[in-house]
């Protein structure tokens, strides 16, 4: 009664009716201070750590399809990736698309807000804009590799739609070419580099100046711009900001955050922890923990390569797998990188599964430098060998590479051993035009969507554009990847 009397008598209806949420605020005025910009960056980082992206599926995508992992039994989860069982509306892994573009909306909104400021204020925000541009480049780089053919294979084919601002909600954009996407990526990275150059310190859990360079090096390698890949990676190496793990430290590095090799690491904490659905659980042995489903384990091919040196320090994160559990035959195909090593203590947080995702490590920069040295306009095999051997030390019983023995395959093999489980393998194999063989015969799992081997002529090396996008966007509806178009 009182409520209505008050309301009608003092004509304050509108204030009675003006209600606002308590966990959201007007977006129009949300980015005013640099603290606000940081909050927006945090928002993007959290989105990137979701299970649909770096939190799990993007890493598993690069592994399940790369031949170094296999499955023990079908039907357990994410085996659609391994089997290449995708259709636009079934196993489309549409989360890559929706989360990817949602992340892009966040960075674009931040960039737009900074661009609206007067030049003086904008200067305070330079670093944040640099971060946003770097993240945008990384997200596009990921999306174009998921949905478009390799740059060095078919750069004029369809990449992904190029959006650089907040666009009207009913926009229907078509796909840009792979080359256009890479131009955008390079451009963003270059701008980001200069905006962040004033502060070259590490930025744990976020992109930094050197993370930007590291991404540039990786992108240059995919574009076969070896000179750039080499100079950029050498800038990072020579800065001495990061330091390679000694072989003795390597294994323990998986039980810590922000190790000396970490150039860009995405933080996972108890809020974003995926628990029994985490990367860690996807790779450890079947039922080592209740609910560890033994989703993925190493293929024979990987184990054989790593087995070239039984003393390789990288055996330290591997342990007996389900095959051993059932047959008693030693087979160290279970990987403990994402659960803090075989002790499964995590990386220092309360939950052992809340383990940071190491997106780029210095090891990769060394191996990029090695590969780039071989192919630069002035090839330098000695240098290549030096860079490779810095990593190859991790298998102490193998002969060091020399200028005469070093080859792309040797570097690729080292990349495989070093980055097992880190989501790089499939992209490397496709980039280097290798044939990928799958270890389906380990337990004779039935696979009908692909042959035992594939290479980059196989249509399903790219994902389908999700049906939800096709349904809502008539422009893209006619641009479906050919393996999935009716």
């Amino acid at each position: 009664m009182t409520v209505s009397v008050v309301c009608l008598s003092c004509s304050s209806c509108d204030s009675f009716l003006d209600l606002e949420p308590t966990n959201s605020a007007d977006a129009e005025s949300a980015i005013v201070t640099t603290d606000d910009a940081q909050v927006a960056i945090n928002g993007v980082m959290e989105l990137m750590s979701s299970s649909s992206y770096y939190g799990r599926n993007f890493i598993m995508y690069g592994e399940a399809k790369g031949g170094d992992m296999t499955i023990y039994s079908s039907g357990r989860g994410l085996d659609g990736l391994y089997m290449f069982n995708h259709t636009p509306d079934n196993n489309a892994f549409s989360g890559f698309w929706s989360v990817g573009y949602n992340c892009l909306l966040q960075v674009n909104n931040l960039i737009e807000n900074i661009d609206k400021m007067n030049s003086e204020t904008a200067e305070e925000f330079a670093y944040y804009k640099g971060e946003a541009l770097t993240l945008r480049a990384l997200i596009y780089f990921d999306l174009v590799r998921l949905y478009g053919l390799p740059y060095n294979y078919s750069k004029n084919s369809y990449g992904v739609p190029d959006v650089t601002g907040t666009i009207p909600i009913d926009s229907q954009l078509g796909r840009a070419s792979v080359a256009d996407n890479y131009n955008r990526i390079v451009d963003d990275l270059t701008k980001g580099e200069s905006l962040m150059s004033s502060d070259k310190s590490e930025n744990d859990g976020y992109v930094s100046y050197y993370a930007n360079l590291a991404i540039q090096a990786r992108v240059a390698l995919f574009m076969e711009d070896y000179d750039k890949a080499l100079t950029t990676s050498e800038t990072i190496i020579d800065s001495k900001v990061f330091k390679l793990y000694e072989p003795s430290e390597w294994c323990a590095s998986w039980a810590q955050q922000y190790g000396s090799e970490s150039i860009f690491e995405i933080g996972m904490d108890s809020e974003t922890d995926l628990g029994t659905g985490s990367l860690g659980y996807y790779m450890i042995r079947y039922h080592q923990k209740t609910s560890a489903q033994g989703w993925f384990l190493a293929s024979d091919y990987f184990l054989n390569r790593l087995g070239e040196d039984p003393g390789d320090v990288r055996w330290g994160v591997m342990d007996n797998d389900e095959y051993w559990l059932n047959t008693g035959t030693v087979r160290k195909g279970a990987c403990y990188k994402y659960i803090g090593g075989p002790e499964m203590k995590g990386d220092g947080k309360e939950n052992p599964t809340a383990v940071d995702i190491k997106v780029i490590r210095l090891s990769e920069i060394y191996l990029i430098a090695a590969e780039a040295s071989l192919h630069a306009s002035h090839p330098d095999a000695d240098k290549a060998a030096t860079y490779l051997n810095a990593i190859r030390r991790r298998s102490p019983n193998l002969a060091a590479a020399t200028a005469s023995t070093i080859s792309d395959d040797m570097i690729l093999s080292e990349r495989g051993k070093e980055f097992y489980g880190e989501g790089l393998r499939f992209f490397d194999m496709i980039r280097m035009n290798k044939t990928i063989e799958f270890n389906d015969d380990l337990t004779d799992v039935p696979v009908t969507y692909r042959g035992k081997t594939i290479d980059r002529t196989f249509g399903k090396i790219v994902l389908p554009i999700p049906q939800s996008e096709i349904n809502a966007n008539s422009v893209i509806a006619v641009q479906q990847n050919s393996a999935y178009s009716k």
Binding site: V3, C7, L19, D26, V39, M45, S98, E350, P446, S468
Partner: protein
């Protein structure tokens, strides 16, 4: 107990006529229906407080009368009160409470006589609600009201039902009606957030004890409901709770106990273990022969190896005599386990005979100035699946006090505490016991390891968990405390002019907890976890109305005007603890690691309302209503909306030309038209928001969560109703025929947008849906003779629901939201049904090879396809076919019919519900009739018997294949069935002990009864229960059971 056939007096007073003014009076009170005496009827001399009660023979007497006494008034519970002029010897016949009554109905902001009401409303009385074994009253309305469809998605005790009044008029906003209890809108729907974790629901309305309900009015058209404005588009359900009646205090005690020993129908009964082993063998065999071109021998070896790999660990091994795909697999011991020939019965382990208990006690009474009703209730209802219990303790006090001649004060207090625990009620491999027994748990699995005897704790190969073990390692509960208080002050200012003010506060506090021990798979990675949630729903409503009624000769006027303000707020907090020190304490504080969330949200509304009713000589009726609502859910420019209605009625039987028609007791025409609305579901849908719910590394994170939408507005509903009410043969046959048309415009559509924008949909007021149909309601007395009364009633509703327009005409594909398992796919397309199933058209099974055949349905060429099948282009590969509209979930007709028979204290009631036409999409069939996947799952008996094999080429189901087909998973007409059914929903048999016997035990009335629910079901769909949700789909939610209840009712 409308048939509480009681008795009244027969006066057998011979004797001389005495002075009516002061001589003695004797009389008898009898029931008009069957002439039996009514015991304990209250007889008062009108105008005095002198009264007496009837005895066991229904007799009463007054030895003297005060001077001026003119008449006696007799009241009795369950009967209509009656006044009769005093005579020395009197026989007073009382009518049954609901008999031939020009029913007074509670309608929007007041009451109305049915004969003069121009809107469309139906009423359901307490006796049809309270005696059924339902946890909430919604279930009891099933089949009772034309145009009202009640569906419950789940058979879990305490879960939410869904109500649809005259179809579905919204795509994105709510389709549920507004619930009003004792004049005040209340919170309804699912309470709390456990559903986010374990997919259950907790019905807020189940805090209301059905026993406390006096009547339920269902307001269907605009004339009836537009006074509720922007919330009325889906109709209004007005619940009125009991109050005291003049007479001596009545104490009622009811107790019942029930059992649910079985499901109402078969539900995906499984093929035997042997058959399932054979099927899995076939799949592996086929994978090698068809998939890899290998020989039978190799395929046989491979298939047996796979079986052994899967089941050796459970103590079984496998062999065959031959090597063919259809060989019988011999199941024997492995490792001398001793399990050969023995299979574990998981149904037995997971199901139980559920017990239902209900106790109610109430006291009510009234004096000329005070009336009261107070009740206590306790109910305990188990689900048939273990880990589903629902209890409710409730109390209600309604008190009305007249103060002097001008004031009246009413207080309604309702308190209830419910406690629900429930199981994951959707397609969940590890935590839905029903799904597990039907699709995942082989009889070859045991809850113990054969070699060690220890509990089996790892997931089985089918992904099912051993819940015999895990049920001890987790816990969940949703405790709801509902307290609702409303105060009503009425001032009778002048004759006919009343001022009424209601203030109400409704608070539901839901306390939920979910615990997993470190041994549970959900607690393993966190070393045990506990989640505690508190959600407080508050609704404050204040309304003040003035009403004025006046008669000028034959002109009768009633006017109502008022204002109302309402505020809703929900407070939510969650705290979660992980890393628990001990399994004994399920307390967040003991945890090693915490996380928390807490925020609140809400909305408010301000309204002005008015209504004018006029009638001339109770023959011509007209009424208009107007309401203006302002809502916080819309932007400043859009937040005010006007809603109105006009209605008229003509009672033809009041006209001279029909007055003399003996067979026609009532004929009335009425019509109405009006506008009401629906608000968006989202409280802040028009705002451009940065949401701060993401955190990163312990820091706050913000993300753009929605774009500005200042244009977001009301959905408006234009509703027309034309009806005829009729009565024949002195009211022995009454009925209503109504036609209605609901045009719902400016519907809010969650229009899917290109995700390249960063978001996936936007809200637009754009769609239009039309619902129209016919409703027929008939009530008749078939026989009344020698104490036998036999009545019957029935209703039927015909509904057509079509999408009229969409944003840019663009079609929208959408999925059944129930269960979160996207079990069925629909299409909104202009001109098509609101519930149009969308998928591949399955042509059946090719007799020559057992493959599924799909019609290609190329829009340009009906012959396009890989081959021609039955004259149309067809393919084996669904991927080459096109989706089309394959069915329609809107039935042709729905309704119910009831019949009651009473004779000498025995009463028998049957209630049927039915549905004619419409399609049912079986979203669970993809699991039980999967024709090709290596998943270690079991299949249904029906699939096994009907699958194509070389020896059963007429099989209606495709052959098993090892080629990893996902055919069964596709949305296709293969899973579509006719949804028609007829169900004997309730059967009640009761016996009322004659008053002359019961009164010896000081009991004025005693009745014992037996009720059986869901006893019989007839349908063409045989796989599972045909009574499905409002979307016409069946999934893995708990089925409903057959319940048998025994009860007793006593009145003192």
């Amino acid at each position: 107990m409308s048939k509480l056939i009681m008795a009244c007096v027969v006066s057998i007073i011979t004797g001389a006529m005495l002075s009516a003014q002061n001589g003695p009076v004797r009389g008898t009170v009898l029931a008009e229906s069957d002439g039996t005496p009514i015991v304990d009827a209250f007889v008062v001399i009108e105008g005095t407080d002198m009264g007496t009660e009837t005895d066991r023979e229904g007799r009463f007497s007054f030895s003297t009368l005060p001077s001026g006494a003119k008449s006696l008034k007799v009241t009795c519970v369950g009967m209509q009160a009656k006044s009769q002029p005093i005579a020395p010897s009197m026989t007073i016949y009382l009518k049954d409470e609901f008999e031939n009554l020009d029913e007074v109905m509670v309608v929007a902001y007041g009451i109305a006589k049915k004969s003069s009401y121009a809107g469309s409303a139906s009423i359901v009385r307490s006796d049809e609600i309270s005696k059924l074994p339902v946890t909430s009253f919604e279930g009891a309305l099933n089949g009772k009201v034309a145009g009202l469809q009640v569906t419950s998605t789940s058979g879990q005790a305490g879960s939410v039902s869904s109500m649809r009044i005259r179809g579905t008029g919204s795509m994105n906003a709510s389709n549920e009606p507004l619930y009003v209890i004792d004049g005040v809108p209340v919170n309804s729907g699912n309470a709390g957030f456990s559903g986010d974790y374990i997919y259950t629901s907790n019905d807020l309305l189940s805090t209301l004890n059905p026993e406390d309900i006096e009547s339920v009015s269902v307001l269907k058209d605009a004339a009836a409901s537009s006074l509720y404005g922007s919330r009325a588009a889906n109709g209004v359900i007005i619940i009125t709770t009991k109050s005291g009646r003049e007479g001596k205090p009545v104490v009622s005690f009811n107790a019942s106990v029930g059992f649910t020993p079985s499901w109402a129908t078969g539900n995906y009964e499984t093929a035997g273990v042997q058959e399932n082993v054979n099927m899995l063998y076939m799949i592996f065999h086929n994978y090698r022969t068809a998939g890899k071109g290998e020989s039978d021998e190799k395929a046989n070896a491979y298939a047996l190896a796979q079986l052994n790999k899967k089941f050796n660990k459970h103590g079984y091994s496998f062999s065959t005599e031959g090597t063919g795909a259809y060989d019988n697999v011999i199941i024997s011991d492995y490792d001398n386990s001793g399990r050969a020939g023995k299979y574990y019965d998981w149904d037995d382990a997971y199901y139980r005979t559920a017990v239902y208990k209900d106790l109610n006690l109430s006291v009510s009474g009234a004096s000329p100035t005070t009336s009261y009703y107070a009740s206590l209730g306790y109910m305990d209802s188990q689900g048939r699946l273990r880990v589903n219990d629902f209890t409710r303790a409730s109390a209600k006090v309604n008190l009305n006090q007249k103060i002097g001649r001008f004031f009246e004060l009413g207080t309604n207090v309702r308190m209830a505490k419910t406690d629900k625990s429930g199981y994951n009620d959707t397609r969940n491999t590890s935590a839905n016991s029903f799904f597990q027994t039907r699709n995942l748990l082989w009889g070859l699995y045991w809850p113990t390891d054969y070699s060690t005897g220890e509990a089996w704790t790892t997931r089985y190969g089918s992904y099912a968990q051993n819940n015999k073990y895990y049920d001890n390692e987790w816990d969940n509960s949703s405790k709801t405390l509902n307290a609702a208080i409303s105060e009503t002050a009425t001032i009778h200012l002048l004759e006919g002019l009343d001022l009424k003010s209601i203030f109400s506060y409704d608070n539901s506090t839901v306390k939920e907890s979910l615990y997993y021990s470190a041994l549970h798979y959900n607690g393993a990675s966190t070393n045990g976890s506990i989640t505690e949630m508190r959600t407080i729903y508050e609704k404050t409503v204040s309304s003040t109305t003035a009403s004025y009624t006046k008669a000028f000769g034959s002109h009768n006027l009633a006017f109502l005007a008022g204002f109302e303000a309402e505020k809703n707020n929900t407070d939510y907090t969650r705290s979660e603890g992980e890393n628990l020190p001990t399994s004994k304490l399920h307390t967040v504080s003991t945890a090693g690691l915490f996380s928390a969330a807490g925020y609140s949200w809400g909305n408010s509304m301000v309204s002005l309302l008015s209504k004018l009713d006029y009638n001339y000589a109770e023959r011509y009726f007209a009424s208009v209503s107007f309401r203006r609502d302002g809502s916080s859910k819309l932007s400043t420019d859009k937040r005010w909306g006007d809603f109105w209605s006009v209605a008229g009625a003509w009672r033809l039987t009041e006209e001279n030309f029909l007055k003399e028609t003996p067979w026609l007791s009532n004929l009335r025409l009425r019509a109405s038209y009006g506008v009401n609305g629906t608000l968006p579901s989202d409280n802040y849908g028009y705002m451009y928001l940065m949401s701060y719910t993401n955190h990163y590394l312990g820091n706050a994170g913000g993300t753009i969560s929605s774009l500005a939408n200042d244009d977001l507005s009301w959905e408006t509903n234009y509703s027309t109703n034309v009806g005829v009410d009729f009565g024949f043969f002195k009211g022995r046959l009454n009925g209503t025929v109504e036609f209605y048309n609901r045009d719902s415009k400016d519907l809010i559509q969650d229009v899917p947008v290109s995700q390249v924008t960063g978001l996936s949909s936007m809200l637009k007021n754009i769609g239009r849906i039309n619902n129209h149909g016919f409703e027929i309601q008939l009530d008749g007395e078939i026989m009344r003779r020698n104490g036998l009364l036999w009545t019957a009633s029935g209703n039927i509703s015909f509904l057509k629901s079509k999408v009229k327009s969409l944003y840019n005409g663009a079609e929208i594909i959408w999925y059944d939201p129930t269960g979160g398992d996207t079990r069925a796919q629909y299409l909104y397309r202009e001109g098509e049904s609101t519930y149009a199933f969308y998928g591949y058209e399955w042509a059946g099974v090719d007799k020559t090879n057992g493959k599924s055949v799909y019609y290609v349905n190329d829009p340009d060429d009906s012959k396009a396809g890989d081959f021609i099948y039955k004259g149309r282009g067809a393919t084996y590969d669904y991927d080459s076919a096109n989706y089309k509209i394959i069915g329609n979930a809107v039935p042709f007709a729905t309704g119910g019919f009831n019949t009651n028979l009473s004779f000498k204290g025995i009463d028998l009631a049957l209630g049927f519900t039915y549905k004619i036409g419409g399609d049912l999409y079986d979203g669970a069939e993809k699991d039980v009739a999967d024709d090709g996947y290596y998943w270690e799952r079991i299949r249904s008996k029906s699939y096994y018997e009907n699958m194509w094999t070389p020896t059963n080429t007429d099989g209606s189901q495709p052959a098993l294949s090892g080629l990893d087909l996902t055919d069964a998973m596709e949305y296709s007409s293969r899973h579509l069935y006719n949804a028609s059914y007829l169900r004997l929903k309730n059967l009640t048999l009761g016996y009322t002990i004659p008053g002359r016997i019961s009164s010896k035990a000081c009991v004025s009335r005693a009745r014992v009864y037996f009720t059986a629910s869901n006893l019989l079901t007839f349908s063409s769909y045989k796989e599972a229960d045909p009574e499905v949700n409002e979307y016409g789909t069946r999934g893995w939610e708990t089925p409903i059971g057959k319940t048998y209840v025994f009860g007793v009712e006593l009145q003192f």
